[in-house]
């Protein structure tokens, strides 16, 4: 019974991880920019939501809109103020990565100075678990997380397969030269990728705030999971990233069955190390000319 509970917990954690990872997978897949600052966008969205709903006591709808706006704005700023200038003259992955990392550090500490370094949670009665049947407790929040992810993933799938914009993004991730030949602006498409990817981070940020709580350094932890998921899932494959992220969430919780909590994070990464060394192209390999 403990195992079942841990599995259910794992699915909830994994779903939230998946929501975060697909945002990064989309951006990295389309633009090949090592957008480590994705974690910073997550933190910004989460704290903005907490601030609007907690300190300003406004309705969660308003808080969500505020969070999405903040995330998209932050994503665009990072793209235009930092990535674009760097790519103009050099753009080696190293330079971009370092600058991106710098953004994470600045944001993490700025948030720590404004909101404090301690732990912060979004209070809601939705996280009160109810005994569904003997030994299994589930909170209404679980249902909301699952429903929301289903909507987001379906929506994303539709965008990427049915709209011109979505198809262009997929083309960009497979063959940017060809996209340019067809007269589309890769620069503009990349910007749209950032908009969509950053917006995708918001539901995960809100759910994390309501379930395990926030602290300023959560950006790095989130980034890790997204990176692992994107790479192990296969660059360019959003479903791959989602699957691996879900698997990591489940593994982190199942590990608790035998080991103490200290090991859950490490185990998820040991899992990655093995995967990467034996199947480096990832779960779903996608051909690309990058």
């Amino acid at each position: 019974m403990v195992l079942l509970q841990l599995l259910v917990n794992g699915i909830q954690t994994g779903t939230i991880y998946a929501l975060t990872a697909i945002g990064f997978a989309l951006i990295f897949g389309s633009t090949r920019i090592f957008h480590f600052a994705h974690g910073a966008i997550f933190v910004i969205a989460a704290y903005v939501f907490k601030f609007v709903i907690g300190d300003l006591s406004l309705h969660w709808g308003i808080a969500s809109i505020a969070a999405v706006s903040a995330a998209v704005l932050a994503g665009l700023l990072v793209n235009f103020l930092i990535y674009v200038p760097i790519q103009r003259h050099e753009g080696s992955y190293f330079t971009v990565f370092v600058a991106s990392f710098g953004v994470v550090i600045v944001v993490q500490n700025a948030i720590a100075m404004i909101f404090g370094r301690g732990f912060v949670a979004i209070e809601t009665s939705l996280s009160n678990a109810v005994e569904v049947f003997s030994g299994l407790f589930m909170a209404p929040l679980f249902g909301i997380v699952i429903a929301c992810s289903a909507i987001v993933l379906t929506g994303l799938h539709l965008i990427l397969t049915r709209t011109h914009f979505g198809i262009a993004l997929r083309a960009l991730s497979q063959n940017p030269e060809l996209v340019r030949t067809f007269g589309l602006s890769t620069r503009r498409l990349s910007a749209y990728a950032f908009v969509l990817g950053s917006a995708l981070v918001v539901p995960a940020a809100i759910f994390t705030g309501a379930t395990s709580g926030l602290n300023p350094s959560i950006g790095l932890h989130i980034m890790l999971i997204s990176l692992v998921a994107t790479i192990a899932g296969g660059i360019g494959s959003i479903w791959g990233a989602a699957c691996i992220a879900l698997a990591i969430g489940v593994a982190e919780n199942l590990v608790l069955w035998q080991l103490d909590t200290q090991w859950s994070e490490a185990v998820a990464f040991a899992f990655l190390l093995v995967f990467l060394i034996f199947r480096p192209a990832g779960l779903f390999r996608l051909a690309s000319t990058h």
Partner: protein, 377 residues
Amino acid sequence: MSNYFKGIGVSLILGLAAATTAPAQAEEISIGGVFPLSGPNAIYGEIFQSSLRLAEDHIKDDQMLEGGMRILYEDSQALPQQAVLAMNKLVSVNNVPYVMSAFTGPSKAVAPIANRSKTVVVNGGGVGPDLAKLGEYFWNVIPLANTEMRSLLPYMVEEQDYKKFTLVYVDDPLGEGVLEVLQEQLPELGASLVNKYSIPATAQQFGGLAAKIRNDDPDVVFLASYGDQQVQIIKQLRQNGVTARFASYSAFSTPTVQALPEAEGALYATQAIDFEAEDAFTRRFVDDFKAAYGKLPTVYATNYYNAAMVFAMLGKELQSQGKPITGENLLELRRATESFNLVGGSVSFDEKGTLIAPIQIMEVNGSGSKVLKIGKP
């Protein structure tokens, strides 16, 4: 480009300027305070500083020390590494003879420096049992966990008839100390430690832990944690269906736990301090504290006030004997002193430098706590 050199230049100049300014005030005596001033345990630093402010004022008003006394605070973030760096600075740069410390881990880390440099370190908040064994320069003005448990556990096992205990503990020196105490004392009383769960100090998510504890079905969940984390543990365990009674060492006395609805009914032990005592010393502290902060002081706040007062009393005596205020002299004089009149009454140190005091058992009742029972020291 030139901006970078300007930047370097400015920092070099600032550094050199700092280096060449001699430390001020030859006359004023400084003592140190190494506390968590930031991070998840900053609430404790605030508590300690609130009463130390009063101590500084009272020492000045009574003119206990010639030249006056000042407390230099350093931020330990309740972490051993930062505490060591802070202690090194206080000892080598500020030359303080007396440092107040908090938290078991950081205290254990600075104790060797205390003994090596002959600086007195006083703990008023950590309760790990190892703190009694840290050398002659390490003093405790708070009873440690083994003493607290020796009153709390019999009450729980014999009077409340709880037999099955589960422990959730941070895997640092404090948590390990509490684990040892429970493993030693519970079997003697005929109760048992059904399970123990070690958690990282930074953990915030306890859903999985709740599942495993529900499986154990204990009478009591004993917590050895602090700050923000213990609040989260209590809340999340209750939200996920754990109905057992909560118990802990004195950490539950913090305002955040006292005000937490999910903590209602939680039991804990602390030093018994009679805030109603009639002597002028106690009354001044309690009344001034209430006037400044609008509430009664807690045990932790009182301990650090007492720690500062112990220094002032010893220092005053040393000055009247014409001796310099050094760690060595402070230690010698403390050993020669029978008892000290501190807040709550007259107390004395045992030969290892730990205060002997009675223990009281408290229960959180949603708006503070009520005292259930007072034990003998």
